[in-house]
C-alpha cells in the first residue's frame, strides 16, 4: 500500500503530466471533521485507478446545510459521486449531550438523514458513498453496554446494521466499510489522538491510504473496473508441498500434516469467491494428470474440478498459460488476479502481462488469508443470482469449442447448437442483471453508458424509450441474459441507439444479427424511419469499432463522433440460427 506521501507525489506528478490518460470524474466530499488530507489521498488513489477526480470539498461541519439547502455548493457542483463521511466522534459528542431518552434516538436520527438523501430527487441519479461508523468503546457501561439501548455501543452498532438495510433498499447508496478497516487494523491505527487535537482529523496518516483505497474501490467497481477472475498456482499455493515430488499422501492439506489447515482455510475462501461469481482458474507447472489427482482423490481438498473454469497444467510458462486462459474467458487482463507463492514467477507474470494484479503473497502460508483480506481484491457494485453459475457457463463454453471442431462449416455448427432467445423489455426481474451488464461490459459495448438499477427502472417506465433484453439458451445450457439495447427517439422519424452491449461469452453466434432484426422490427412498429448508432471509443471496446458498418449502417458525414445510420425501409433481415421466443 502506498503511503500518504506517495499518494501526494503521484497526484503531483499526474497533474504535472497534464493528467494524460486519466478519465475525469466529479466527486464531492462532505464530512463533519477535517477532510483535506482525505481529499488529497482520494485524488492520488484515483490517479492509480486511471481517474482524475474533480473534487469538491465542502467546508467541514456543513453536512446538513450542503445536503439540505437547495442553493448549496454541493448541489450546484453536480457530482457523479458524493462521499459522506460522518464520524463516530461527532456522533459520540451529540450522544453525550442527550438525556437517556435522546440517546435512544441517536442512530435513528442519522438513519433518517441518510434515508432522506437517498430519496431526494436531486441525488436519485448520483452515487452516495456513505462511510459507516467505526466503534468507539467508551466503557461507560463496560460490556453491559450490549444490554443498554441508549449506550453509545448499542447506537453505533444499530446504526451500522440499519445502514446496511438502507443500502439494500436504495440503489443510489453504497457503504464504505470503515468499521471493517478498524476491525482489521485496530482503533489505535485508525485514529491518532495527538494529531486530532490540532487538526480535527479523525483518520491517522497511516490509515488515509487504506480509507481512500476502500472508497475508490467502490467508485472503480461502479465504473466497471472489477476483478472477475482468480488464477491459482497449485504447489505451495493451494496445498503445502509439491504434488509431483511428495505425492497425494505427502502434500499438506486439512488437519493432518504440517500446516495443512492454512491451505484448507485458503481454499474455503476461494470456494466462497467461486460461489459469488468469481471465475477460478489454475495455472500450474505440472503434468495434467498429476495436478488433477488431489482434486479427484484427496479427502481434504475443498476445491473440486467443477469449481475450476479453466485448468492449465503443463510445462508451458505461466505467462503462456495465463494468455490461454484469457483467450478462453475473453476478459481483460486487468480483471484478473494471479496468486503464486513463487516470487520469481510473480515477477515474470507482472512484467509480461500488463494490467494483471499479482499480490506479493507472504512467505508464510499461515499469513496468506489475512494479507489477502487487507487488499480488498474483489470489490463489486452489484450482486445477482446470475453470478452464481458462471463457472459452469465457462466450462460449457469449453465443450462448445470442442464440438465446433467437429463441424466443417460454422453455419452447420451454429444450427446444431439449437439456440433460442427470449426477447423482453426491462422488468423488475431482469433489472439487476441489466444494470450489472451496463456496469461490467467493457469490450462489446458501443457507448459504455453505465446505469444503476434505479436508472434502468426509470428507462423501463419511460414510454418513449425502447428497452430490450435478450437471453440465449442452447443445447448445452442457458447463458442467461446476454445482450441489452436501449433506443431513444431523436425526433419523430429517428431512433438513437443509446446502449448496445453484449456479453463476450456469446461472440460469433449470430446474436448481433438476431438483435438487429429485432431492433428494426421494433422501430418499424413504432413508426420510425431510421436508426442512428454511435461508437464511442474507450481503451477496451476496439472490438466493436466496425460494428455498425459491418451491419450495413452508413456513416453520417457531419457528426463529430463516429455515427452511423440505417434506413428501416428496405432493410434485409440478417441471417442467423436463433429461434425467437417472445416474452
Amino acid at each position: 500500500m502506498q503511503t500518504f506521501q506517495d499518494l501526494k507525489k503521484i497526484l503531483k506528478q499526474a497533474l504535472k503530466d497534464g493528467a494524460q490518460g486519466l478519465a475525469p470524474l466529479k466527486v464531492a466530499l462532505v464530512g463533519d471533521t477535517a477532510t483535506q488530507f482525505l481529499a488529497t489521498a482520494l485524488r492520488g488513489t484515483g490517479c492509480l485507478h486511471g481517474f482524475l477526480f474533480d473534487l469538491f470539498e465542502a467546508e467541514y461541519n456543513q453536512v446538513e446545510r450542503q445536503f439540505l439547502d437547495p442553493t448549496s455548493e454541493l448541489r450546484a457542483f453536480d457530482a457523479d459521486f458524493i462521499i459522506l463521511f460522518q464520524s463516530t466522534h461527532k456522533l459520540a459528542e451529540h450522544h453525550s449531550l442527550q438525556n437517556a431518552e435522546g440517546q435512544e434516538r441517536v442512530a435513528d436520527e442519522r438513519l433518517a438523514f441518510v434515508e432522506a438523501l437517498c430519496q431526494d430527487p436531486a441525488f436519485a441519479a448520483k452515487r452516495i458513498i456513505c462511510l459507516n461508523y467505526p466503534e468507539i468503546e467508551d466503557t461507560v457501561f463496560g460490556s453491559y453496554a450490549n444490554q443498554v439501548t441508549s449506550s453509545l455501543t448499542w447506537q453505533v452498532r444499530r446504526l451500522n446494521s440499519c445502514l446496511m438495510q438502507l443500502a439494500q433498499q436504495y440503489q443510489n447508496l453504497f457503504l464504505c466499510d470503515l468499521a471493517a478497516l478498524q476491525n482489521k487494523f485496530g482503533r489505535d491505527w485508525l485514529y491518532a489522538p495527538n494529531i486530532y487535537m490540532s487538526t480535527e482529523m479523525v483518520l491517522s496518516l497511516d490509515a488515509l491510504p487504506y480509507v481512500a483505497a476502500r472508497i475508490v474501490d467502490i467508485i472503480a467497481a461502479v465504473r466497471g473496473q472489477l476483478h472477475k477472475c482468480l488464477i491459482l498456482d497449485l504447489d505451495n499455493t493451494l496445498w503445502g508441498g509439491v504434488i509431483g515430488d511428495d505425492g497425494i499422501e505427502g502434500i499438506q492439506l486439512g488437519h493432518g500434516l504440517g500446516i495443512g489447515k492454512a491451505f484448507s482455510e485458503f481454499q474455503q475462501w476461494v470456494r466462497k469467491l467461486r460461489q459469488r461469481g468469481i471465475i477460478i482458474c489454475v495455472a500450474s507447472k505440472n503434468d495434467e494428470a498429476t495436478a488433477k489427482e488431489p482434486f479427484l482423490h484427496h479427502p481434504d481438498m475443498i476445491l473440486k474440478l467443477e469449481d475450476i473454469a479453466v485448468f492449465q497444467a503443463n510445462w508451458e510458462t505461466k505467462v503462456d498459460n495465463i494468455r490461454t486462459i484469457q483467450r478462453i474467458l475473453n476478459i481483460g487482463f486487468d480483471s484478473m488476479v494471479f496468486l503464486d507463492d513463487n516470487p520469481f514467477e510473480r515477477a515474470i507474470v507482472r512484467e509480461n502481462i500488463p494490467g494483471i494484479t499479482v499480490p506479493e503473497l507472504p512467505e508464510d502460508p499461515a499469513l496468506y488469508l489475512e494479507y489477502l483480506y487487507s487488499l480488498n481484491l474483489f470489490e463489486t457494485a452489484s450482486y445477482s443470482d446470475a453470478d452464481k453459475d458462471r463457472t459452469q457457463q465457462y466450462q460449457v463454453e469449453a465443450q462448445r469449442v470442442q464440438l465446433a471442431k467437429t463441424f466443417d462449416n460454422e453455419e452447420a455448427f451454429l444450427r446444431s447448437l439449437e439456440m433460442r432467445s427470449t426477447v423482453s423489455g426491462f422488468t423488475k426481474f431482469n433489472t439487476p442483471r441489466v444494470a450489472q451488464l451496463t456496469q461490467r461490459s467493457n469490450q462489446f459495448n458501443l457507448r459504455t453508458v453505465r446505469y444503476t438499477e434505479a436508472d434502468i427502472a426509470a428507462l423501463a417506465a419511460d414510454p418513449d424509450v425502447i428497452d430490450l433484453s435478450f437471453t440465449l439458451e442452447d443445447r448445452f445450457g442457458d447463458n442467461g441474459l446476454i445482450a441489452v439495447v436501449i433506443m431513444k427517439p431523436l425526433n419523430s422519424e429517428t431512433l438513437f441507439i443509446d446502449t448496445w452491449l453484449m456479453s463476450c461469452r456469446v461472440l460469433r453466434r449470430g446474436v448481433e444479427h438476431f438483435v438487429l432484426n429485432t431492433l428494426v422490427e421494433r422501430a418499424r412498429e413504432a413508426g420510425y424511419r431510421r436508426i442512428v448508432g454511435e461508437y464511442l471509443p474507450t481503451p477496451k471496446n476496439k472490438m466493436v469499432e466496425q460494428h455498425y458498418p459491418d451491419l450495413g449502417f452508413i456513416p453520417l458525414p457531419d457528426s463529430a463522433t463516429a455515427q452511423y445510420c440505417l434506413e428501416v425501409d428496405g432493410y434485409q433481415e440478417k441471417k442467423n440460427e436463433i429461434l425467437k421466443i417472445e416474452n
Binding site: 500518504f4 506521501q5 507525489k9 503531483k12 483535506q36 488530507f37 491518532a192 489522538p193 495527538n194 494529531i195 486530532y196 487535537m197 490540532s198 487538526t199 482529523m201 491517522s204 496518516l205 497511516d206
Partner: protein
C-alpha cells in the same frame, strides 16, 4: 544523540516530506522561512519525525513549537 545529529536527520525529513531540493535548519527556523511548511504539511512532518526517531509527541507539543529549536528540544528530551 547530539543536537547536531538531530538537525541532520531533520534536514533529511524536511527535504523528503516537503519535496525540497535542500534545507539548512537552524534553531531559529520557523514555518515562515519555508514556503512549503504550512499547517497541513506540518502534520506530515510531525508523523514522519515521530517515526524516524521512534518517539511520540504530546498533542500540546505539536501545537506549541515556536521554532525548530524547540522541536529539537522535544525530540532530545525523549531520546
Amino acid at each position: 544523540m547530539e543536537r547536531i545529529e538531530i538537525f541532520e536527520k531533520l534536514n533529511e525529513i524536511f527535504v523528503d516530506v516537503l519535496d525540497l531540493d535542500e534545507v539548512e535548519l537552524t534553531d531559529a527556523t520557523t514555518a515562515d522561512d519555508i514556503e512549503e511548511w504550512d499547517s497541513l504539511s506540518h502534520v506530515q512532518l510531525v508523523v514522519a519525525i515521530e517515526k524516524a526517531f521512534g518517539v511520540k509527541f504530546t498533542a500540546l507539543e505539536i501545537m506549541k513549537w515556536k521554532n525548530v529549536g524547540e522541536l529539537v528540544d522535544s525530540i532530545a528530551q525523549k531520546l
